[in-house]
Symmetry: C2
């Protein structure tokens, strides 16, 4: 079942269970989606142009929560293939690369939410400024949380060119001025 | 319908709608509950004593998400009573006080989650360290997000003794060493 179709209490039960997914990556994506939804609400009150962007990001982040689970499950599946199977190591590496790209995308989209939330704090309806600030806090947590998941996968990736590319992308993201220091 | 019974997509739709609740306070509480669920998962993997505490906090924070909506609705209701109605101002003040106490409790419980998540980062299963770190980020966002909601209500509260008490409690919370600077 897709995460968006789950009841909140069931999602939390799954999260709290020993099952490997959903884990931190999906949680970060969902936090980003919640932040985007709050931005959307504030933007609707103030006719800020942020609304459509926030709605798009919310949907994309919610899908990334599922993709994160799937990517992690593929990593575990790759590790479980028999040691003697040809191409096993390449399969593991490919799965790990994908499992770093999904949370990187979560972080990128959450940075976009951070920017929209900052716009709303500065220019939005001041009756909803606390909502915009909660969105900013949550989107920031989504960025740093997602990057934790990128980094942990990078540790097992042997292709140094791939690793360098990802690190450069992370540095670019962390350069966002609206992001609090992590 | 209680928030925990809602489908995630429906909760996000409500959040993104112009409706005043759920808003930032409920979102902060839910973020705290998600962080507590992640802590619980990590604690189960490592038999850390944190598990029971995290489970309790998750349930309490999830209830606080509903209480936040109700408290805010009572504030709006109080403001809507006719200007000439006796005790109107006192009714508004009482509703505002309650609407600051709910997010304060969210912040207090989220600080407790921050501490558990920090324990898990330090002492937990290192295979789940990224999950513990996501929990730490999210619980921190829940603390600061909830406090935004306390502060916005305090601005309209006239009882200076009440205000001072709350501010002292906030200062105590912010003294938690595991909390990143806000």
């Amino acid at each position: 079942m897709q995460i968006k179709e789950q009841k909140i209490k069931d999602f939390l039960d799954d999260l709290a269970s020993k099952k490997p997914t959903p884990g931190g990556g999906a949680t970060a994506a969902l936090a980003g989606a919640m932040a985007a939804a709050l931005v959307s609400m504030v933007a609707k009150l103030t006719v800020v142009k942020a609304k459509d962007k926030a709605e798009r990001l919310r949907k994309e982040l919610l899908l990334l929560a599922d993709e994160d689970c799937q990517a992690f499950e593929r990593v575990m599946q790759a590790y479980r293939t028999k040691k003697e199977e040809p191409g096993r190591l390449r399969k593991i590496q490919k799965a790990l690369e994908e499992a770093s790209q999904v949370p990187l995308e979560t972080a990128e989209k959450s940075v976009a939410v951070v920017k929209l939330a900052s716009d709303c704090v500065r220019e939005g309806n001041q009756n909803a400024v606390s909502d915009a600030r909660v969105a900013l806090e949550l989107a920031t947590a989504a960025v740093y949380g997602a990057l934790e998941n990128v980094r942990i996968n990078l540790e097992s990736i042997k292709d140094s060119k791939f690793g360098e590319d990802i690190k450069e992308k992370i540095d670019n993201l962390l350069g966002c001025q609206d992001l609090k220091a992590g």
